[in-house]
């Protein structure tokens, strides 16, 4: 059962990690538009709301984030924004993914910088 649970959570993709970090950065203000802005500011990528919500929906289904409805604001067709926050399992998965990347990069950054400088 534990294996199945683990399999269901699975590995995080590169974009999923980016979305989770954005949620983390925004704290209680992690709405779709907020995540869109963080991704643009931090990575320069303009991502469509469709991609963000599809990813958030998937993460929610895997139990890594949860959502709540906020107060209605103007200019959203009268619809209140949805705010997301990391669940403990989401935090664990994100941390593991980050550590994995760090382990892979450990001791290689100087070499990488050297190569990049040509």
């Amino acid at each position: 059962m534990a294996r199945m649970e683990e399999g269901r959570v699975g590995r995080l993709g590169e974009f999923e990690q980016a979305v989770l970090f954005s949620v983390l950065r925004l704290g209680e203000e992690a709405s779709g538009v907020g995540i869109h802005d963080v991704l643009h500011e931090q990575t320069g990528r303009r991502v469509s709301p469709g991609s963000i919500y599809t990813t958030l929906g998937r993460l929610e289904k895997r139990g890594l984030v949860r959502s709540r409805e906020g107060a209605p604001i103007r200019g959203r067709m009268g619809r209140p924004p949805k705010y997301y926050e990391l669940r403990p399992s989401g935090a664990t998965a994100l941390m593991e993914a980050y550590e994995e990347t760090q382990r892979l990069a450990d001791g290689l950054l100087d070499t990488l910088a050297g190569l990049a400088d040509g």
Partner: protein
């Protein structure tokens, strides 16, 4: 700020609502709107915000749509089916290879046929706005044919300033010798064209410049633009070629540019020179023909251009009723075949001829593939039973079978289309080489647009036919059954009504194999026999070449209506005389002679009448014999002695002398071995009987037409005296000796020293004169051989599948019968009776097809007369074929004979 005015337009928002669906749709739409609104609030333009909104909408719709699709049950089960289909293909490699080969070959045959048709009937010109290029021709209503316009017509249209066309230019195809300082020369297809016609292609030169109006002036210095291949191969890619002077025929021309690779405008031309028109110097009646090309003016349709030219033609016929009454200008898409066929008929021909043939070929191949798939499905009954027991519906099982057929068919079709692409490119290349070898005087029939990529019609037809065939292959086995009856249906594959369809498929396959194989063998034998012509003298010691006048080609339009290649001019005759004289001065040359057709050429066969009777004629029209015209020195030069009478004297060529020389085969076949000398013959043509000609000699038998096919007149031959002023083009035959090969490469330079404008075609040693024909037959034979092999492979695979299946299904029955005391052979005979019947029917039908084919050929002009050897060969072949077909039954038969009653009963019990 007014929120309503800052939002994206309503229609855009409605579109977003329409496209984005799903549980998060409202969140997404709200975010889209919030982002757009914020951009405007922060000072951005509404337009830019709307564009971003639109882009985000499309991207969101795609992502959400894909996510939703991938979550559907259909998608997930389809994915399983695709994976399963891949595994099944790998699990049955034999079947995959056989069925895949059959489909790929069917696609190759059908798609190549369609592609060649498309290239011919609906050419896609790979130039900027190539579909707007047009050709202006003349419709001659009096003779119901298309003829080329004249210079006079062209100038009239150009000066009339027609509004529907722009870039109206003219060209004539020419064949010119390109001669370098070091004596190397090559005859190339050139276009003498106006600067406007050159620019119509809209292709900038790779180097230098293209043709210019200044080059067209009569006093301008001769210039030439070279094609890429000529520059690469002839000038070794010289980067400084621009400015070099070269000899183009009799002109010393300056190279002004090189065109990029693949450029062959307007057809398959290698060099371009200015067309210098002198309209004032030519009256309307004697105006030479040209080809006229143009582009449709912006916004003008082909129909409008046609209307304008039709109106212009009507005005001209009113003004000049005598000459123009039946001539009306016609605008056609560039590259379309120059015959007056309405476009609708062409489309009909494409659908019925091209796509229809494709469908028939696919039907035959897929019929067999369906049989193989069906047999395999029946063998997998246990797997399907399990799936069915686990709750798989009939639709699911059919869906899985469809996916399997589609994976197999899709892969094979992709391979077939790739092969088609290779084949069409190869066809274009080899075709042009063969045409070059044959040294035709017309433009190439194909243009630079032939080959290349496949048309969408071809690709679409292949995909559509594959999907339809895969659907039928999946659905047919279960048709007429309900629910899970598909499984019981699979059990009945070999019994009763359900196998009648497969019987037809197998019978047809065997019949095709039986009928095609002899054709392949005949073509192969033709190739061998062509190459093995018995010359009757040392042909390798002679060098031959065709000498033609440099000058203008006849355009494709003209060539369709031409019968003769013209008569030689004074300059030409003088030049040939001088070449002969110089050749004779060369110490390596032993003799020089001339002929109309040389040994190894296909000689025309003429009907003739014999004065005083001879052998009974094989046809009511009389006898036929091969004919050529040879110089007085011909027999002496070839060391051919006279059996009776005399050879030709120089005076025999006078028009008043009507004498001929015949060969011994003529004496035997036509004269019935009666004394030939002094007898008279006359040729019989469409205009009736010609003058009587007296036989003055019988020359030893030497090779004439290669014995590729049995000619009606056999080897009977007649030699006419060579009349220099009438015979064109001349073939010279130079006796050199063992070094003929080396001498051949020097001959063009020697000819060009005398006349740089003279074309030297087909320079070869005489024993190579059959090479081109042998190549054509060899290629045909190989193609038919592969075709027959694939048909045989399919037939054998079909028989094998059905027999294996029958044995598997009836193992228990065989076991019971053997246990009850029936002999093994007797039992298996009942199992294999159907296979024997199918083979017998197939071979019988095939033999009937062969008979029909032989009958058609026997009655046609070619007249293949099967002799006893042919008949015997065919009989042995037809007797052997059943044995070959039944080879497919050996393995199942052995299995049936080894059935042990105890095991068989245990297995199924």
């Amino acid at each position: 700020m007014n929120v309503h005015k800052s939002r994206p337009p309503t229609w855009l928002r409605r579109l977003a609502w329409l496209l984005i669906r799903g549980p998060d749709a409202l969140e997404i739409l709200a975010d889209l709107e919030q982002l757009a609104l914020r951009e405007v609030v922060q000072g951005g333009s509404r337009w830019r915000a709307s564009v971003r909104y639109f882009r985000n909408t499309l991207a969101s719709a795609l992502v959400v749509g894909w996510a939703r699709l991938s979550e559907t049950r259909w998608f997930q089960t389809s994915t399983v089916d695709w994976k399963l289909a891949g595994r099944v293909l790998l699990r049955y490699p034999g079947l995959t290879v056989v069925a895949g080969t059959a489909i790929a070959f069917a696609v190759l045959v059908g798609a190549t046929n369609l592609e060649v048709f498309m290239d011919t009937a609906f050419p896609r010109i790979p130039l900027d706005e190539g579909h707007r290029l047009v050709e202006v021709r003349i419709q001659d209503r009096g003779q119901a044919r298309v003829v080329p316009p004249t210079v006079h017509d062209f100038v009239a249209w150009r000066d009339a300033d027609v509004g529907s066309l722009q870039d109206l230019g003219a060209y004539r195809s020419t064949r010119r010798n390109l001669i370098l300082e070091d004596g190397r020369s090559r005859a190339l297809l050139g276009a003498a064209m106006t600067a406007v016609a050159f620019r119509t292609a809209r292709v900038p030169p790779l180097m230098g410049r293209g043709l210019d109006e200044a080059d067209e002036r009569l006093q301008a210095a001769p210039v030439v633009v070279l094609g890429y291949d000529v520059w690469r191969s002839f000038f070794e890619s010289d980067p400084d070629v621009v400015g070099r002077t070269v000899r183009i025929g009799t002109d010393i021309s300056t190279v002004i540019g090189v065109m990029p690779e693949g450029f062959g405008w307007p057809r398959a031309h290698d060099l371009w020179v200015p067309l210098r028109l002198d309209p004032l110097g030519v009256d309307a009646a004697a105006s030479p023909p040209v080809s006229v090309v143009a582009r449709l003016a912006p916004g003008v349709s082909l129909r409008q251009a046609r209307a304008e030219f039709t109106a212009m033609g009507q005005r001209a016929s009113t003004l000049l009723p005598e000459s123009r009454e039946f001539r009306s200008p016609e605008v056609a898409r560039f590259g379309e075949i120059p015959v007056p066929i309405p476009r609708l008929q062409l489309v009909g021909a494409m659908v019925f001829g091209g796509v229809g043939t494709f469908a028939v070929v696919m039907l035959v191949a897929w019929g067999n593939v369906t049989l193989l798939l069906f047999a395999r499905t029946a063998a997998r009954r246990r797997e399907l039973v399990v799936r069915s027991a686990l709750g798989a519906s009939r639709e699911r099982i059919v869906g899985q079978l469809f996916t399997e057929a589609l994976v197999l068919g899709g892969g094979a079709t992709a391979v077939g289309l790739w092969a088609t692409r290779t084949a069409t490119n190869w066809y274009a290349r080899v075709g042009s080489e063969i045409m070059e070898d044959m040294a035709g005087v017309h433009e190439p029939y194909w243009g630079f647009w032939f080959g290349g990529g496949l048309s969408w019609v071809t690709i679409g037809s292949a995909v559509l036919l594959t999907v339809i065939a895969a659907s039928l292959a999946a659905v047919l086995p279960s048709m007429g059954t309900a629910g899970r009856d598909i499984l019981s249906r699979l059990q009945k594959v070999h019994g009763g009504d359900s196998s009648s369809g497969w019987t037809a498929v197998i019978v047809l396959q065997i019949a095709i194999t039986v009928a095609v194989a002899p054709l392949a063998v005949a073509a192969g034998i033709g190739a061998v026999r062509t190459a093995d012509l018995d010359y009757g003298f040392r042909a390798s010691e002679y060098v031959t070449a065709e000498l033609a006048m440099d000058g203008e080609f006849y355009s494709l339009v003209e060539d369709l209506h031409r019968e003769s290649r013209g008569t030689p001019g004074e300059d030409y005759l003088r030049a040939v005389d001088e070449i002969e004289r110089r050749l004779m001065e060369d110490p390596r040359v032993r003799s020089v002679t001339r002929a109309w057709k040389i040994p190894g050429d296909v000689h025309p066969q003429w009907w003739l009448e014999v004065d005083g009777g001879g052998a009974p004629p094989p046809s009511p029209r009389g006898h036929r014999a091969q004919v050529t015209a040879v110089d007085a020195s011909f027999f002496r030069s070839l060391d051919v002695g006279m059996v009776e009478g005399r050879g030709f004297a120089v005076t025999d060529a006078d028009a008043s002398e009507n004498v001929v020389v015949v060969n011994p085969e003529f004496v035997r076949r036509v004269l019935g071995d009666r004394n030939p000398i002094g007898r008279r013959i006359a040729f019989v043509g469409a205009d009736g009987r010609g003058p009587w000609r007296e036989i003055v000699g019988v020359a030893e038998q030497i090779g004439m037409t290669p014995p590729t096919l049995e000619l009606p007149g056999g080897e009977a031959g007649i030699y006419l005296p060579f009349r220099r002023a009438e015979t064109y083009p001349v073939q010279i035959v130079v006796r050199v000796g063992p070094e003929a090969d080396r001498f051949a490469s020097r001959l063009p330079a020697l000819v060009h020293e005398v006349d740089p404008g003279l074309q030297v075609n087909r320079v070869q040693t005489l024993d190579e004169s059959t090479a081109t024909n042998a190549r054509v037959f060899g290629l045909t034979g190989r193609f038919l051989g592969v075709f027959a092999a694939v048909a045989l492979l399919l037939a054998l695979a079909g028989l094998f599948s059905v027999m294996s299946l029958a044995v598997t299904r009836r193992t228990r029955e065989i076991g019971v019968r053997v246990a009850l005391g029936a002999g093994r052979w007797r039992v298996t005979r009942t199992v294999f009776r159907r296979a024997v019947e199918q083979v017998a029917m197939g071979v019988g039908l095939g033999a009937l097809l062969v008979g029909v084919l032989v009958g058609v050929l026997f009655n046609s002009d070619v007249q293949v007369r099967p002799d006893a050897g042919h008949a015997l060969g065919l009989a042995i072949y037809l007797l052997l074929m059943p044995g070959v077909c039944l080879l497919a039954c050996i393995v199942p038969l052995r299995r049936a004979l080894r059935v042990e009653p105890t095991e068989a009963l245990r297995e199924d019990g």
